[in-house]
Every structure is written in C-alpha cells, then in structure tokens.
C-alpha cells in the first residue's frame, strides 16, 4: 500500500479535468523533467518539500559484505534528498 504515480494522476484527472490517459502522460512528463535535470547534474529545489541534490562520490575502498573480499568502489554520482523544514513539521504533526 504505497502512493504511486497512478494515484497522483487520478488526482490530476479529478482536479483538472484532463482525460485519465492525458493525466498519466502529464505526470510522466513531470517525472521526466525532474530526471533530466538531475541527469544533467543540476539539483532540483522544491520549496516546501525539499532538495534533490546530485553529489559526486570519490573512489573508495570497500568490501564485499557477502564474501569479505576487498573491492574498489569507483567514483560515482548519486542523488540525495534533504527534507524541507515545512515537510519535516508536517510529518511530525506540528
């Protein structure tokens, strides 16, 4: 039981009156815009919700937890999320 994009599209259908198919297309497009921005290395900052940030990770030594073998984790880029104060308050119910 998790919130999915279909439920969000349903809400777009209810509130804006686009067809269901169109509502899904619009939500898919919105998600694609967010991905494109992050892919190009640009953070996505949503006031009242939080920040999606692209971080560069350096190469580091790690270990395969299953075999205990040493391994080199290559340099990579990851996405992190910082919750906004407003969202944090909302989740904590105050």
């Amino acid at each position: 039981m998790a919130l999915t994009k279909h439920e969000i599209a349903e809400q777009v259908f209810n509130e804006l009156g686009f067809s269901k198919k169109r509502s899904i297309e619009i939500i898919e497009s919105l998600i694609e815009q967010i991905k494109k921005s992050l892919e190009s290395g640009e953070d996505v900052l949503i006031s009242g919700f939080g920040k999606f940030r692209v971080k560069e990770k350096k190469e580091r030594k790690g270990r395969n937890p299953a075999t205990g073998e040493d391994a080199i984790l290559p340099a990579r880029r990851i996405v992190t999320f910082n919750c906004s104060g407003k969202l944090r308050k909302k989740i904590n119910g105050s």
Binding site: M1, E15, I26, L38, E39, F81, L87
Partner: protein, 91 residues
Amino acid sequence: MNKLELISALKNETDISKSEAAKVVQIFFDHMADALANDERVEIRGLCSFFVKKYKSYTGRNPKTGEKVAIKPKRLPFFKSGKELKERVNS
C-alpha cells in the same frame, strides 16, 4: 532547477497552460507530503521512493557547549533513488 523552472519545463513539454502546470506540480508534491504525513510509503517508479523512519528520544549534547540536551522522538522521510534515476545520473 527550482519549482518555477519545473513548472515552465512541464508547460513546454506537455502544451498545458502555466496555471495548469503549476497545479500539477503542486498536486504531485502535496500528495507525496500528505502520504508521508500519514506514514504511508511513496513509490514513484523510476524516480524514487520515500518512507518515514522513526527515531526514538535520546540524550544528545550541544557540541559547542557540551551541555546535555534531551532530543524528542522524531520522524524523518528516508529517500531512496529509483533504479532508472540512479543509472541515468551516473552515466
């Protein structure tokens, strides 16, 4: 990219009006926030998932003064990048 730029990009890609795009963006993030406030998971395939982690109360210390501080129990959203996003960001 901020919320306004996201609205603009959505408007251009889908040929809807600016006010409609603004509404869609608002619905998207409000819905996720509401779900998290109700302790529900959020799963946006290809983008990310969120769930709420609960932390117990503990006694912390102010690192500057060394004073003891009681930290109340709290809830924080935990973010996990989706598979597609992870791969695209890293390629």
